[in-house]
């Protein structure tokens, strides 16, 4: 069988699959938006997409470039002001899944999207900042993270904790008063990591087809834990790939 998919497509398809069974998803822009829109076309047609710009139940025909593209409002069940979105809908505890990207994660799935150190005496590399992430990760029932696997992204220590995943281990979320369960999976272009139920440390649970444990070790900035018997994710189906490519094509044409 020839593998006619890219590593990014493996990541996107598996990210979409992680939304099976969810009712509502708070969608970050970029990879999370791709995954959530793919899920609506494959594993979860009834999924309600919620964008922080105020659109509840958006049904975009093409992938939006920004979280405020007009189509999100035009196709939504309801459009609400941004303060209401954060206070009544997110903080009110009505969203099942928060789907976030990340510049850097650590072994406890904490996230940095603020700034990266270049070392003593040199200015930080500036990242965009928090956006909605700290409260999305706090308030949603559970959190999915999606990012490409690299030592730049999977770091032993974050220069800045923008968004708390599992803090320094089990019990930290409860101690901080974070209501949701926090990150339940980190989906990358190499595989899927999940927090160990006992230690909350990210553990390689599944590899994408063709990926090895050594590939994951090489791309992770700490001595990553590996499940005793990591599984392999199912290869993308033809239907998944077709849906993903159709979803992306109008936007690429518009470029």
């Amino acid at each position: 069988m020839s593998q006619d998919w890219t590593p990014d497509e493996l990541m996107e398809v598996n990210a979409a699959r992680a939304l099976a069974g969810a009712r509502t998803c708070f969608v970050g822009i970029g990879l999370p938006s791709t995954a959530a829109n793919l899920a609506r076309r494959t594993v979860n047609p009834g999924l309600t997409l919620i964008y922080e710009s105020g659109a509840i139940g958006a049904r975009p025909a093409a992938l939006p470039l920004s979280i405020g593209d007009g189509e999100l409002a035009d196709t939504a069940d309801a459009v609400v002001p941004v303060p209401e979105m954060f206070n009544y809908w997110l903080q009110g505890g009505r969203i099942d899944v928060g789907f976030l990207g990340a510049a850097q994660v650590d072994r406890f799935a904490n996230v940095n999207t603020t700034a990266v150190s270049r070392g003593q005496g040199r200015p930080e590399i500036r990242l965009p900042g928090a956006g909605g992430a700290p409260e999305i990760a706090a308030g949603c029932g559970r959190v999915l993270l999606v990012l490409r696997h690299s030592r730049r992204g999977f770091v032993p220590r974050l220069d800045f904790v923008t968004t708390v995943g599992h803090g320094t281990g089990p019990g930290d979320r409860a101690a901080l008063g974070l209501p949701g369960r926090g990150p339940v999976a980190v989906i990358t272009d190499l595989g899927v990591l999940t927090p160990d139920p006992g230690t909350a440390e990210l553990t390689l649970a599944a590899l994408h087809p063709g990926v090895t444990v050594d590939d994951v070790r090489a791309a992770t900035g700490w001595d990553v834990r590996i499940a005793r018997h990591p599984s392999f994710t199912e290869p993308p189906t033809g239907a998944e790939l077709a849906a993903l490519r159709a979803l992306k094509s109008p936007r690429e044409e518009a470029t």
Binding site: G54, I67, G68, G129, V164
Partner: protein, 274 residues
């Protein structure tokens, strides 16, 4: 009551050096034309407030007008970095930029407190994050009923808020629809308010999803069709995503940016340098 004025005169009268200015619009209805008028007038030493600085503040920062930025997410949505913002923060070019950085929930609630005449707002936010270490506008409060500890954020009350809206009537009542973001709060929190609109119509007939800002909440309305470009005005235009993508190359290089600023903003017709 809002006067209907030229953009030049409204900006000159309402926005002054050193002011705290919020130009809001969550991707939609971003008041780019008003920002360009600020660049032409050279109004400087501004504290710029915006949840998502976006390309509009990248331009103001690159033009050297901003001393300080109050914000929660500084990227080019779906494209990448804001290079002028990064150059100012990382290299101090063309001048250093002080930051007061928050989360979206915190910024939204800071506007809510400002609009509500309260000195602060309460939220479940910033828990465990390093953000509070770099700002003095986040603190904690204890619930007097449950003993729970919660985040408090200081109210935002800009000297001036600028928004773009679809339309106004001749009396200066303003109507906007689509994604209306945090505009109502930013307007009601501000001491002075400038609204650019696509058009003035005889009467504001009701529209689904529309909100109305009575004329007595607005100081000036300026008619600027397309005044949100490359952002958009639902019902009038669509987001110019190609421009947002093109901005990456324009803004990455100081010279390319300066050339763009000169040719596309400073030397545009109607520009009246002071």
């Amino acid at each position: 009551m809002a006067d209907i004025r030229s953009l030049h005169d409204a900006v000159a009268d309402l926005i002054h050096d050193g002011d705290t200015v919020a130009m809001e619009g969550f991707t939609h209805l971003i008041p780019f034309a008003a920002a360009h008028e600020l660049i032409r007038q050279g109004t400087t030493d501004l504290t710029l407030v915006r949840m998502t600085p976006d390309v509009v503040y990248d331009q103001l920062i690159g033009a050297g007008l901003a001393a300080r930025l109050v914000f929660s997410w500084g990227g080019n949505p779906g494209v990448g970095s804001l290079h002028r913002f990064r150059d100012a923060v990382e290299n101090g070019w063309p001048r250093p930029l002080e930051l007061d950085e928050h989360s979206h929930a915190g910024m939204a609630n800071r506007y809510v407190a400002g609009a509500s005449g309260l000195p602060f707002a309460v939220l479940r936010g910033y828990l465990g994050s390093d953000i509070p270490r770099r700002t003095d506008t986040v603190a904690t409060v204890v619930c007097p009923f449950t003993g729970a500890e919660l985040a408090a954020v200081a109210a935002l009350n800009p000297d001036v808020t600028v928004i773009h809206a679809q339309r106004a009537d001749p009396a200066g009542n303003v109507q906007l629809w689509g994604l209306t973001g945090v505009q109502k709060e930013a307007v009601l929190a501000a001491r002075r308010v400038l609204v650019t609109v696509e058009e003035v119509v005889p009467a504001l007939d009701p529209r689904p999803g529309a909100l109305t800002l009575p004329t007595w909440t607005v100081d000036a309305v300026a008619v600027v069709p397309g005044g949100a470009h490359p952002s958009y005005a639902a019902g009038y235009s669509t987001r110019d995503n190609a421009f947002y993508r093109a901005w990456d190359a324009i803004s990455r290089d100081r010279e390319a940016f300066t050339a763009w600023l000169d040719s596309q903003v400073r030397r545009r017709e109607g520009a009246t340098p002071r």
